[in-house]
Amino acid sequence: MKTAHCLPLLLCLCIGDALAGTPIQLQHAASANTRISISNIAGSVNVTAWDRNEVQVGGELGDGAKPLQITGDNDRLSIKVEPRGGSGSGWFNFGGDSRMAPTTLELHVPRGASLDVKVISAPLVIDGLAGGDIKVNTISGNARIHANTPALDVDSVSGGIELSGQADKAALQTVSGEILAPALGRTAKLETISGHIQAGGGPWQTLTLSTVSGDVQLSGKLAAGGSIDIDSMSGVVQLRLPADTPAKLHASSSSGDLRRAFRKPIEAERGPGSSLDTSIGAGDGKIHLETFSGDLRVKKQE
């Protein structure tokens, strides 16, 4: 009788086991600043830095995927999740995820490694890297990156981008994904169509930001002789700067409202619109803000 009661439970466990993917356990020697290419369609990718000259891959391979391998030499390694029966014509291989279940990748890589990650709908987490470049392409998966990197390049369609740590040079682009980057380094380029941007950091030598309808909150410092350029169509732009920012500020809006903490804006003589030209602090930096219908707010940092 007791056995009969346990049968459904055993059956469920057997089915669960049959549907589960294949555990992954791979490792490969690597140089301290190895370059690693990773691609996965669906599932997740977690990359954690460690202080070993070795790459270790764990996780679970989805049903229908080719057996996973680490290919290449110690300086250049590749880990690609591909469906059985051909990898398709494109690197994204959009049709591939209909032929295989999601794959979970848990990687440990040398701290100084450079990464080139391509995912479609798999969320990506990169944690603890220091010293190597990072390049990410994602479609709908969010990318969370905690690293100190000389160059970060993230191109996303609808996935959000979260950056903590420090990127000396960052290029972050989304269509509708949000960008959260409170510690941008000397050079930054942020572009979105409708995603919101919340960013900070500096001191910036060059910061360019463009948004069509996404709102922007930017707070940080400008380097001596540096420049900030922000273009917005209907997105609201809020910029917070120290009171002694060494720059000249030009801000204009065709029909949006312009509020400032530094000087009264000049209203257009005819029609809507306003502009502001002022020097914030002594210096030759340049800040140029322009919106069409989005409101502009320039405030002093507390």
Binding site: G90, V157, S176, E191, I193, V212, M233, S234, E290, S293
Partner: protein
Amino acid sequence: MNEFEWRRQMRELQQPHVPRRDLWPAIDAALDQAVADPPARATWRRMLAGAAVAASLLLVVGMAWHQWFTPTAPAESAGTTRQASWKPADPRLAGAAIELDAARLELQLAIEQAPDSAALQRLLRHTERQQAQLRQLADRAG
């Protein structure tokens, strides 16, 4: 005029009156003239009818010519609509394609209102570049 005088005049109106001159010769002459005229008028009417038929035929032929032989001009707006209606097969890209199309159209409208805005021109270039990248992704998808 009193009432009696008014009634007397009314009674006189009831009596027959002879015209001061004979009217029949003039009526007869006019009737003869009318009999002599009809052939010319009929010719004129036939000509009018023929001209109307010819004009109608010309109109029909002209319309047919316009319908069959005028080339359908590929207007710019048609191209824009085609571009705007591009939708990738993959649902993960379709939403972004719609969003980019909407952004591009909004920017074009904004540029019409503020043609001197360099910021709007840059934003339009960014948007079109992202559209091109999305098309490449869709093309390269396996």
